[in-house]
């Protein structure tokens, strides 16, 4: 058994949690266990039933057979235990291997297995006799110790596993009933019992339930054994610190691995050096450069020490009130002639890097401030925005300056006099919006309505007369467009006369 190969997380667990781990372990090898059980245990039961049939009959036959099956369970439990315990320590056991071992397993600790049926701590004590091979007083002492430490779940595990067997037994019965009913029986209970009593002897139902019991034991015993084994592992974890042992072993492995890896690295380096001796004819020269390099590095290290000491020197000088500047950084007694140039070069590079970083950071900060200056200036924030995208159409109308005639007011006047009132007013309104968007920098967007435009124009605080003109124009336009209310001729003429929204020139 190698604790390192363990395939479950070992740590101190509460009672029910250790039982859960046992269930999980049993589930993992459930198929193997069932296969081995069918081949090893069922023949044993069948042989027993046939054997007792020869020496007894009727009720006695049933009674002896039941007892046989009940008692041999103490030995049959070795099958799942063998598989689960080996699987826990990373060893895959096939059903065939268990079958081959079965005769030996059956007779080993035979009487203890039989008698363990009469104790409630069977799940916990079985690993002691089977896996540790303890006998006599050592066995008793061990089991007592286990029961004291974390083994308090053994009794409850027995209780619950019996409950589960009951569940499976009834599940079998109900299932049979369902199948039976499916094939046409009308009254479930009556027909079932009638048939049983007619076609079997008086113990038909009892034999049937014995079969159900065997099925339920087959299905539940692996869980019970798994739970007992997990409690055993948990108990030993508590009393012997298995989890700690495992962690310490892994820690040691890691530490040793570190050293080994270092050792391997050195070895590889040595091999490479050796090879280079053979391959390169001027290896002597290479070695020379290597030495020089080493010297350079050493001098650099010297420099580091030097800088550290320099700080002490500085502090001392400042505390003594001297005004000596330390920009040169060469403390009088510490430079000591070792690596004269290297220190300066490093310092130069370092300073260059430092100032580059400072410049980049300052530049970044300035750029961010410029980019987000509108956020800093909260008042009239929208007014300041010059880079608002200029909309090309508002309310489905083209408002680009190119789409409008140069002498807009004149064309509008002509259209009005021609009687094309709609065209005239739409020209005026489009022109006004176009001016607001392109010249007045009013943040009008494509989805704005007429009222939105008026609101935005007022918010923007365009010159008062322009604003009033725009709102008056809007009223007239809305009246015509939606209400078919023609504005008076004089009013339109006045608007054309006073037209303030000339694109390329000054306002009139």
């Amino acid at each position: 058994m190698r604790l390192e190969d363990v395939t479950a997380k070992i740590r101190p667990r509460a009672r029910w949690e250790s039982i859960d781990l046992g269930c999980a372990m049993a589930r993992r090898s459930y198929g193997t266990i069932l296969m081995a059980w069918l081949v090893c245990v069922w023949p044993l039961w069948i042989l027993g039933v046939i054997g007792f049939g020869m020496i007894s009959e009727g009720g006695w036959h049933l009674w002896w057979s039941s007892l046989w099956i009940w008692v041999t369970l103490g030995i049959a439990g070795k099958v799942p235990l063998h598989i689960i315990s080996r699987e826990l320590f990373g060893e895959k056991v096939s059903a065939w291997e268990v079958i081959k071992l079965w005769p030996k397993m059956f007779f080993a600790n035979f009487w203890r297995g039989i008698f363990s049926r009469f104790t409630v701590s069977r799940g916990l004590s079985m690993p002691v006799s089977e896996l540790e091979g303890l006998r006599g007083s050592a066995y008793k002492a061990r089991v007592n110790l286990l029961l004291r430490n974390g083994g308090d779940g053994a009794t409850q595990a027995v209780l619950v596993s019996h409950l589960m067997m009951l569940v499976i037994t009834f599940a079998c019965w109900f299932f049979l009933m369902m199948v039976y009913q499916f094939y046409g029986a009308n009254d479930l209970f009556e027909n079932f019992f009638e048939d049983l009593y007619l076609h079997g002897d008086d113990y038909g139902v009892s034999w049937l339930f014995l079969l159900f019991y065997c099925i339920s034991v087959t299905l539940i015993e692996p869980l019970f054994v798994g739970a007992g084994f997990a409690m055993y592992v948990n108990s030993r974890t508590l009393t012997e610190g298995w989890d700690i042992e495992l962690s310490f072993k892994r820690l040691s492995e890691r530490l040793r691995g570190n050293f080994q890896q270092k050792g391997r690295g050195v070895g590889l380096l040595l091999v490479c050096c050796g090879m280079s001796l053979f391959v390169m004819p001027n290896s002597q020269a290479q070695e020379e450069t290597a030495k020089q390099r080493v010297e350079r590095i050493t001098s650099a290290e010297d420099y580091t020490i030097h800088e550290h000491q320099e700080k002490r020197y500085e502090r001392k000088s400042s505390s003594s009130g001297s005004s000596s500047s330390s920009s040169g950084g060469s403390g009088p007694s510490y430079t000591g002639g070792s690596g004269p140039g290297a220190g300066d070069v490093f310092q130069g590079v370092f300073q260059l890097m430092f100032w580059s970083i400072v410049i980049v950071v300052v530049g970044l900060v300035i750029w961010v401030i410029i980019k987000n200056r509108h956020a800093l200036n909260k008042t009239n924030s929208l007014d300041e925005v010059d880079d608002l995208p200029v909309v090309k159409s508002v309310m489905g109308m083209d408002v680009t300056p190119e789409s409008l005639p140069k002498a807009l007011s004149e064309e509008a006047r002509e259209a009005w006099l021609r009687g094309d009132h709609q065209l005239s007013m739409s020209l005026l309104y489009r022109g006004a919006i176009s001016w607001m968007v392109n010249k007045g920098r009013v943040p009008i967007v494509e989805s704005d309505t007429e009222n939105d435009c008026v609101r935005r124009v007022n918010e923007k605080q365009v010159p008062d007369d322009t604003g009033k003109f725009f709102s008056h124009l809007t009223d007239s336009w809305v009246g015509l467009a939606y209400g078919k209310n023609l504005p008076p001729d004089s009013e339109v003429m006045a608007m054309c006369d006073r037209w303030p929204f000339n694109m390329e020139g000054e306002r009139k």
């Binding site: 101190p12 990373g90 895959k92 109900f174 009933m177 700690i244 310490f248 820690l251 530490l255």
Partner: protein, 249 residues
């Protein structure tokens, strides 16, 4: 033969939430849940018996009214008991609370009323194979399906849990073993230790008094690569390091 392809089992299972968050839940298996269910069944049975007595005494005149009341109570007990308690603040029926269990959402939150309803309406499915009993007006189920579903799903979920996306977990904090603390000088470890290794050392320190002297030394010898010493000296050194880690935490 040893192998590496096998998964390492643990009762503390990780559940991955959205955004790469992982939580660890200690999910309860079929054994404690079966016992909790048994307790709940006994409670329901006892309540029904008491109600039956009271109703019989009160409705001495008309048996039909008594039967009616009894059937209504039976209906609410069989459908409402689990839902009511699991949708409550503690998320557990009386049986579950006794066993230190509670029902939670897969994300670790309390379950909603809807989830409680769904997982308990599906109790009917988990009870299969069963047999409708006209006398009691309920399905007498064996819980066979629920049991096997609970056993064979990784997170021990029955059908109702799978559909409602719920889990049954332990409420008590994890088992912490502590004994009398040894009296040693604290000492900084010579190498950097991983988190698990620090935990192991701290555990060794707090549980040291539970083992015999020989076992303590045996354990510390396993870490002799850390202490560079064996035997009693190694043990004292290791305990010192453990104390240092505990003090620094």
């Amino acid at each position: 033969m040893p192998r590496n392809d096998i998964e390492v089992l643990d009762t503390r299972q990780s559940v991955e939430l959205g955004e790469g968050v992982e939580i660890h839940l200690r999910i309860a298996g079929p054994f404690p849940r079966a016992l909790a269910l048994l307790l709940d069944m006994l409670i329901i049975g006892a309540t029904m018996t008491v109600v039956g007595f009271i109703v019989t005494i009160i409705s001495a005149g008309s048996a039909a009214v008594g039967t009616g009341i009894l059937l209504i109570v039976a209906f609410f007990m069989s459908w409402g008991y689990f839902t009511y308690f699991e949708a409550g603040k503690r998320g557990a029926t009386i049986g579950k609370r006794t066993l230190g269990l509670r029902v939670i959402d897969r994300s670790g939150n309390n379950i909603t009323k809807g989830q409680a309803f769904v997982r308990n309406i599906l109790r009917l499915v988990d009870m299969l194979p069963g047999m409708p009993s006209t006398a009691a007006g309920v399905l007498i189920g064996s819980f066979g399906l629920g049991f096997f579903c609970c056993l064979f799903t990784k997170k021990f979920q029955r059908v109702g849990d799978l559909v409602a996306n719920t889990l049954v977990v332990y409420t008590q904090p994890e088992l912490m073993m502590t004994g009398q603390e040894p009296n040693v000088e604290s000492l900084a470890p010579t190498v950097a230790l991983a988190r698990e290794e620090q935990v192991a050392l701290a555990d060794y320190y707090s549980r040291a008094s539970m083992w015999s002297e020989a076992r303590r030394i045996e354990l510390s010898d396993h870490a002799s690569d850390l202490t560079q010493k064996r035997g009693m000296a190694g043990m004292i050194k290791l305990l010192g390091m453990a104390k240092w880690i505990r003090e620094k935490k």
